[in-house]
Symmetry: C2
Subunit: 444 residues, 2 copies
């Protein structure tokens, strides 16, 4: 939660002649922010040892695209607008002018959700955002109204969510996950503790498919249980689903939103993995009904549009056009458009798990076995901290992410996040071999 | 400042069967937000009377562009990357992958500022943002650290700034402007009052050129005075300059940033008017030196990158490429690229002022005479509120903006903002004629 650092803007002795200097302590959030410091350290180590194989980088692969695809998607979208009967100048305005606060892809995204995820929501409930990060900021800012309001988050937690909460000043309370992910019972327990402490839990943040960082996917029963506990405990659920596409088709679990019969779930989506990150396009679905004291009813997405207008006004229509063209091109099914990419990521995860099997025989070293997504977690009897990471990068040429980065109140000191999304199978193999040698050496 | 609305998420009697409903009062910011409610009313009236001439719409004209320009700019930027020696895959990553938090146009924007505005800043001090709105959010969130921190804003104030402050929970204190704009003395007086009340003023928000909403430009002496008072009162200045380009070349005043010898000014820029809004690209320049307790020095832009990473991660590289291509195409001089547009807006302002001269002869009705920009303000002995606006739209076919929308604590009830940016000279003429008839009728 927020630490209000009181400081001063006054000149600091020894500054450049006549030049004002700011005391870092007088800033609200700076590079000294704990999460930022960790991520900066990771990037800094990566840049100092460029030859190291990175099992830390969680970015998607863009090998499947070419710059020409941007132009192609844009042209497809413009053609779509013309097919909708838009004249030249109206089509021009749709791309070059300011646009509707909640964006112009509501229909396309609701169709995609229906086809790919079995989620049926009105197009008016969709808000297009400047990446999923902005969607988290907007949902948090809109929902947390009172000083006692807090949000719950499955812990270990994606740093983007804790960052979004920090920027809008909403405290986050962790709900610890087990080997099978978060349990409805744990959510009920923590909700009770939060209420007992006089605070009000507004929502639970959860990544049900191939979570970042843990790689864990929730079982179907747990998904149904979360919907029930949300109703019993009067919580909303913030479902973040960037990796759902990248699993086995025959073992797919339903999204929480597709099970959501009474509008408990706000669904957060991203096109960074299903298309490419360069558009920086994400969205949220908020089909909850909001009722005013005057009885006036509206959709939560419309209420949140006020927050959106104060954060970025509206999302770049050019970026929306590029993603809109991609959606038209695939008949609104990102699942069908991503078959090649899905196979690539699944091959990489298989390569990662296979290499772990071959290279780690000591029973005191364990790991989980996600059947999709970008991440797996290794546990070893070592202190997996920044010092160890630097040693690993410098002397063994392999990078990884300390799981401790993803805990709110400490934890994960013996765990390592391994990512396989931005490497070839050979690189993954060699990276795990180096990791095994490193861990064997530091233990002996 | 923030009103923490405590409410409940519980079911409201009479809701759809089993469906959760949210009480609007339980939201932090919703369409009931006063500023949002005013703007929604304006849009709603505009949509109900589409035949009305809008002297309210402040959006730029995009007549000067075609959709093909997006493709062209993108191609120019890709060519630029290749000329810089970027290989195919690195160029692809620059457009399609995530990018540096502060963006990839720092060098181009610093060159543009040098050529067009005489502002000399290192490229590392530039942060590319998802529109200028995000730049305001990031600057405010980064600077306001303690509960007692407030920002000052010249009043009447652009609603985007008050909205950004509301979303990050930073109180705004108005500094009233006179017919010549804000005076350094007024800034010193309000700063003293704020300090006396136990609060800490962190920065002053000012639009020195053709301000929205007042249309006023600051005289050179006032600009120098603001820099001095900022140093004396230990304030930063947030200089927002979206309209500076659209004035008389022979009567240009220096930007505050170009006068800023000791890094008092954070400069906020937008490409929405100088290129087109569809890219949603803006930037901030923060070349202040930040010093930590450990003595480590950095640029404020680097410290703020942590906030940026928590709001939108990074600005769409595709949108950056489009604007980057536009900057390359004009040799980094938006002033030279905008000659036609500058002439267009100046013709429209002349048409507006000419029509006011012809149509309003009653000495009790006055207006200011900006020599550029998008806005002028008319004062008349009427109560310029929402009721009057609706009457004007319905019975007289002309829309305008009540100046009262732009005051923090009330004011401007007899004043009307007139915009001339998105109309033809004939429409402006007819709109003012209708306005004159309307005002004559409501007074008699």
């Amino acid at each position: 939660m927020l630490r209000a650092l009181v400081g001063t803007q006054s000149c600091v002795a020894g500054g450049l002649a006549g030049q004002m200097e700011l005391a870092r302590e007088s800033l609200h959030i700076s590079v000294t922010d704990p999460v930022a410091a960790s991520m900066n350290f990771l990037n800094e180590v990566a840049s100092r040892f460029p030859a190291a194989i990175s099992l830390a980088a969680g970015r998607p692969s863009v090998e499947f695209y070419d710059i020409a695809d941007v132009e192609r998607c844009l042209a497809v979208y413009v053609g779509y607008l013309r097919d909708q009967g838009m004249t030249g100048s109206r089509a021009r305005d749709a791309i070059l002018q300011y646009g509707r606060t909640n964006g112009q892809l509501g229909m396309m995204i609701s169709r995609m959700l229906e086809i790919d995820e079995g989620i049926s929501v009105p197009e008016e409930s969709v808000m297009v955002t400047s990446g999923c990060q902005e969607a988290m900021v907007i949902a948090l800012r809109g929902l947390a109204a009172a000083p006692e309001d807090v949000v719950l988050a499955v812990e270990p937690c994606y740093v983007g969510f804790t960052g979004a909460a920090r920027v809008v000043g909403v405290p986050v309370v962790g709900v610890p996950e087990g080997p099978e992910g978060v349990s409805p019972q744990a959510v009920a327990r923590v909700t009770g503790e939060v209420r007992a402490s006089g605070r009000r839990p507004r929502a639970l943040y959860v990544v049900p498919n191939f979570a970042n960082p843990s790689g864990i996917s929730l079982r179907d029963e747990a998904r149904r249980g979360l919907i029930e506990v949300a109703a019993e405990e009067d919580l909303l659920i913030l479902e973040d689903d960037p990796y759902g596409l990248f699993g086995a088709d025959d073992r797919r679990s339903p999204t929480l939103k597709s099970l959501d019969t009474d509008q408990r779930v706000i669904y957060l989506g991203s096109f960074a993995k299903s298309v490419f990150p360069g558009a920086r396009l994400g969205f949220l679905v908020a089909d909850q009904v909001v009722v005013g004291a005057d009885g006036r009813r509206s959709l939560l997405a419309d209420e949140l549009s006020t927050v959106k207008s104060m954060v970025t006004v509206n999302t770049s229509p050019i970026a929306q056009a590029v993603i809109g063209g991609a959606l038209v091109s695939c008949g609104y099914s990102l699942r069908s458009a991503n078959q090649e990419k899905i196979a690539f990521y699944r091959r990489n995860m298989a390569a990662l798990l296979g290499a772990l099997d071959r290279c780690f025989t000591d029973p005191s070293i364990t790991w989980n076995t996600p059947d999709g997504g970008f991440f797996a977690v290794l546990r070893a009897p070592v202190r997996a901290d920044e010092k160890l990471l630097e040693l690993s990068a410098r002397d063994y040429g392999v990078l990884w992410t300390p799981m401790s980065f993803f805990y709110l109140q400490g934890g994960g000191s013996d765990a390592i996040r391994l990512s396989c999304s931005a490497l070839t199978a050979d690189q993954i193999d060699e990276g795990v071999r180096r990791l095994a040698t490193f861990i064997a050496d530091v233990r002996s």
